[in-house]
């Protein structure tokens, strides 16, 4: 089955997408739940959002936060994961906190964040940053620990010091793991968006969904879910393209 070319992924994506919409519509039409909006209502809400501008406004605000938090988180997680994987003291000092905060629900952190970072944009980006960082650092750490010792040895005998080994051996060798981390971090970033926008956000998709939930505007929640899902999916595709470029040296199927 490796050989058969088969249909392209894009078509399969489309098929599953159409299937999903179909099931949803069916459910909305057959079920008697007033709170389950049907596709037309959602499309209507979508158009309204575009027309009145709120959709773009919310989306732009959220996208900025997620991108900033995600990039910061990943950028810090890679060296942190390296330090943890490489130096015992770093692992001993940092790992418990990473583990600890990873299990703490973001909601519970919000009071703390307010006290230390206030309610501005920084605080919101920090919550997302934290989610991205904590997801990514574990994967990077594992990647570093799983680097084949042969490569490290080969670099050492060529005269590499720890910094070089990090940049030119560990990072490329654990790239597949780092990508796992980045993909998971991307999901976490978006999933934490709502929590972050509990922090005094005038605009944002999470905020919009929060109020929509309060007001049971379910079609607007669905618009929010779809926007977040679509943006997340698009960013994930970008990561995959990047991954393919950076890990094409691997001998995989």
């Amino acid at each position: 089955m490796r050989r058969r070319q088969g249909v392209s992924l894009a078509w399969l994506y489309l098929a599953t997408f159409v299937l999903g919409i179909g099931l949803w519509w069916l459910y909305a039409a057959l079920g008697d739940n007033e709170l389950a909006p049907a596709p037309p209502e959602v499309i209507e809400s979508f158009r309204e959002g575009l027309r009145d501008g709120w959709l773009l406004e919310h989306t732009a605000a959220s996208l900025q936060r997620v991108v900033a938090g995600f990039l910061l988180g990943v950028a810090l997680a890679i060296p942190a994961g390296f330090l943890m994987g490489w130096y015992r003291w770093a692992r001993g000092m940092v790992e418990p906190w990473v583990q600890f905060f990873r299990t703490v629900p973001p909601l519970a952190l919000i009071p703390l964040v307010i006290v230390f970072l206030g309610i501005g944009e920084t605080a919101k980006i920090f919550v997302i940053f934290l989610a991205a960082f904590l997801s990514c650092v574990i994967a990077t750490f594992q990647g570093v620990r799983n680097v084949d010792v042969t490569f490290v040895n080969a670099a050492r005998v060529l005269g590499a010091n720890d910094a070089t080994i990090f940049a030119r051996v560990i990072v490329p060798a654990s790239m597949p793991y780092i990508f796992v981390g980045m993909r998971v971090a991307l999901g976490s970033s978006w999933a934490t968006l709502v929590a972050s926008e509990l922090l005094a956000a005038p605009t944002g998709l999470g905020r919009m969904m929060q109020s929509a939930q309060q007001f049971l505007q379910t079609e607007r929640i669905v618009v929010g879910i779809i926007m977040i899902g679509a943006l997340g999916f698009a960013m994930d595709r970008l990561l995959l393209v990047l991954e393919r470029r950076l890990t094409s040296w691997q001998e995989v199927r």
Partner: protein, 322 residues
């Protein structure tokens, strides 16, 4: 009815000569108005008496209960005044008023220098979206001749309002009890610049609601729930301390906190409720709340109050009790 000589010794199934009915009841277990009624009903074994095979589920808020109702998982639930726009917009039907609260405050920090609502122009006002905090803010702004555009509205999670206020991130908090008490404890110099009592025209009424499905297919069961409620309500009105104790034992919530809630609200005797229902006061009050919701944008247009506030079942229940 069934013949009484069946071998059944199960008085739950045959209470008062009526076959027992199943009912899914939700409540807010951090509110004395929710958990208090449930605890009293349990203590006095009112469910058995009314012939209800009850299935109790604690919730944290009103909207989740409405979602559960829409999904058919819940028949009856309790919600505070801040959520009653949901029945108003057709998501459920109010079957009994619960309490009037006076626990909503507009509190200004000492540093802001604000002494009255007029002074909050241009200040940062932290407010939980969708709750009664927003309502008190709206009323206060109206009265002061201001609009939301005159202030910097900072939407926050309810507990986050406290954190933000205490750490100086906002100048004014529009918040309800007991979070308001917490603010006053932490920042004793803070100034209360508005409270429900300043707006006697609008009563913040909490309510027990029934799902639309239950109102169609399970009227009988809902009516029996109201029998339970009527008795529990009278008990709590007469024995507030015991009610607090029972509620604290039921939910694990701290008694002093629940007592704090009691101090900021008013319960009515069941006779009073019946009278209010009959002379139109109840519908008038909910109508006033609806107007506020429309103003706040939570509803597009008002609906006739009769469509979403039912007073007949309550009357029936009172009837069958007497």
């Amino acid at each position: 009815g069934c013949s009484g000589d069946s071998e059944s010794s199960d008085d739950q199934a045959m209470a008062g000569g009526r076959e027992s009915v199943e009912l899914n009841v939700g409540y807010i277990d951090t509110s004395i108005n929710g958990v208090g009624v449930i605890a009293v009903a349990n203590e006095l074994e009112l469910w058995e008496k009314a012939g209800i095979d009850v299935n109790l589920t604690p919730f944290t808020n009103g909207p989740t209960q409405v979602e559960a109702m829409a999904a058919g998982s819940l028949d009856v639930g309790y919600m505070g005044a801040g959520a009653t726009w949901m029945p108003a917009s057709g998501q459920a039907v109010i079957v009994a008023p619960s309490e009037a609260t006076y626990g909503d405050f507009l509190i200004a920090s000492p540093d802001s220098g604000a002494q009255s609502v007029e002074d909050i122009e241009g200040l940062r006002v932290g407010v939980p979206v969708g709750g009664s905090g927003e309502m008190i803010l709206s009323l206060a702004l109206d009265a002061a001749g201001l609009t939301e555009d005159d202030i910097e509205k900072v939407p926050l999670d309810p507990p986050a309002v406290v954190s933000a206020f205490v750490s100086g991130q906002i100048d004014v908090a529009a918040i309800f009890s007991p979070l308001s008490d917490q603010i006053m404890q932490s920042v004793p110099e803070a100034v209360v610049i508005a409270n429900n009592k300043d707006f006697p025209d609008v009563t913040f009424l909490g309510a027990w609601v029934a799902s639309n499905q239950a109102m169609e297919g399970k009227q009988e069961a809902v009516e029996r729930f109201l029998e339970v409620y009527i008795e529990a309500n009278d008990y709590r009105k007469e024995n507030p301390e015991e009610t607090v104790e029972l509620a604290a034992a039921e939910s694990g919530a701290p008694a002093e906190q629940l007592q704090g809630q009691v101090d900021a609200l008013e319960w009515f005797t069941s006779d009073q409720l019946l009278a209010d229902n009959e002379d139109g006061t109840t519908r008038e009050r909910f109508g006033a709340l609806q107007d506020l919701f429309v103003e706040l944008g939570r509803m597009e247009s008002p609906r006739p109050v009769e469509e979403w506030v039912d007073v007949d079942l309550f009357a029936q229940a009172a009837e069958s009790l007497s």
